[in-house]
Symmetry: C2
Subunit: 312 residues, 2 copies
């Protein structure tokens, strides 16, 4: 395996965990760390995980991106609510050969990176996982962990390069031939379930499945997201579509196995942090409206979530 | 003026205030009191109001309806979330000649009273007011106060009898030729504004007007309520309709004059009390669905409000 220099921009729970797994696999990983800088410098990065606990002793940590400098890969794992900071944080790590994996939630994020740094080097990563930060220097990986990766231009050779980065790691990586479809498919879960878990007052996903009204609302929202996603795929000339019936069946079945699951957006809400509303709800809503897809439920839900997010 | 024996069932803020105004006008008013029984017995019922403060010394207070017995009028001012208690609390006060004013919020309440006690004696009252309870024995009337009264069968002679009850009082009374339309018209305000003030996290009405997304949501909800109301009026063979454009104009204009208004349902929410969701949202939603009126926004809002109401 080739060792790559990798810059992790936004080494919170998700960035810290996946960066640590890449370092564990032998890559030269640099973490841009804010909150935990002193703890990680002093005692390393400690990861608990069902896939094996481990400690990264003496990781490369930096307080600013200039200290890291150009890397072969940048993994941007900022919260999408910090998108306005991404350009200046990522730029010092980008040289002509750098590739960028946007490991963030929501729609339209890769477009920004492509605009800043060029289309061909941008990838999107969709993490299906449950990871929390513990006390300084600790990351708790609780469940799941698969990352689905797509290339911004859906270039198969580039996608192979991205997959090879992870080949020696303990992370399960899936590839998608259509990043756009993958983003919409993730929204098919996030919009109804994360959205309703917040708007219904900070509840767990099982409460949605057991409440007739909320379950119907989740179904209506998913219908709208699928319709909007397929209109967006068609508009962009993509041949792939989201299979309506199969998606609904799969998302509700998967959710029923998750028990009293707390989506990260709901955790942000109940713990008083900014939620990723714009990229997860606002942008899909805007696209749906531009494409003329009726999205009454999504429209009301987004207005409520924006208000819940800014009213704090 | 003839003095009537009046039983106030549910002498909270609204029942206490309007009952006190009727007693002030010379009627023989009996209050069914729970929380404030001892305070009112000891020191009377104290009312502060922009229409004049006053104290009702030695009011007739009762701990149960049997102590009151048959009255000429029963004013039921329970919260609609206590509808299941209304029959047993009202029945001891009903004799063949008793008339019943249902001074409660929401749709379909008079139908219950008509089923229990007979159609001809039932009236509906819609209070547009802001009244809070203070410490035991105190009621604070803060603003507004008009009550619109209709007869369950829209019988003009019966309606005159109801109006005459209030003729010597300081309360402004309006009559409506169509109780059904009046109920729907009130919902045109309550559903968008009370509903969104709760679902957006406990905000005041001015926040809805100043937020593009919430204002659009309020408009969409009002559209749906007007359409459902008109379908319901048509279904019941009524000639009257809600004027769509005039209603929207009037409701938004009125709301813009109200400032940072806290709807009673929002106060219930932020203070942790049961909200009147079923009669104000659930029943209109059910009627709209039965009539085949599309109500996507109302459907999602109602599901969220039910969850917020039961999740506490």
């Amino acid at each position: 395996m080739t060792s790559n220099k990798i810059a992790i921009i936004g080494a919170g729970a998700v960035g810290g965990y996946y960066g640590a797994r890449l370092a564990e696999a032998g890559h030269e990983v640099y973490f841009l760390v804010r909150r935990d800088y002193h703890a990680v410098t002093a005692s390393g990065l400690k990861v608990t995980s069902p896939d094996g606990d481990f400690v990264l002793t003496n990781p490369h940590v930096a307080k600013n991106s200039e200290q890291i400098g150009p890397a072969e890969w940048v993994i941007c794992a900022l919260k999408s609510s910090s998108l306005q900071d991404a350009h200046k944080l990522v730029r010092p790590c980008v040289s002509p050969g750098t590739r960028i994996l946007v490991l963030m939630n929501g729609l339209g994020l890769e477009e920004h990176f492509a605009g800043w740094f060029g289309d061909g080097r941008v990838f999107g990563g969709l993490a299906f996982t449950c990871i929390n930060r513990g006390k300084p220097g600790y990351i708790h990986h609780l469940a799941y962990g698969t990352v689905t990766i797509g290339h911004f231009q859906d270039n198969p050779a580039e996608l192979e390069t991205a997959l090879s980065l992870w080949s020696g790691s303990k992370v399960q990586i899936l590839s998608t031939p259509s990043l756009r479809r993958a983003r919409w498919e993730k929204l098919c879960w996030n919009i109804p379930f994360s959205g309703l878990c917040v708007a219904a007052g900070g509840i767990t996903t099982d409460r949605i499945l057991s409440d007739t009204g909320l379950k119907a609302a989740a179904l209506n929202l998913m219908d709208e997201v699928i319709a909007a996603g397929n209109a967006d795929l068609q508009f962009h000339g993509e041949k792939v579509r989201i299979d309506h019936e199969a998606m609904i069946e799969s998302m509700f079945t998967r959710t029923s196995t998750m028990g009293a699951y707390r989506p990260s957006t709901m955790i942000d809400y109940v713990e008083g942090r900014a939620m990723e509303i714009e990229s997860m709800f606002g942008e899909p809503l805007r696209r749906a409206r531009e494409l003329g897809v009726p999205v009454a439920h999504l429209s009301l839900l987004t207005a409520l979530l924006h208000s819940l997010n800014t009213g704090r």
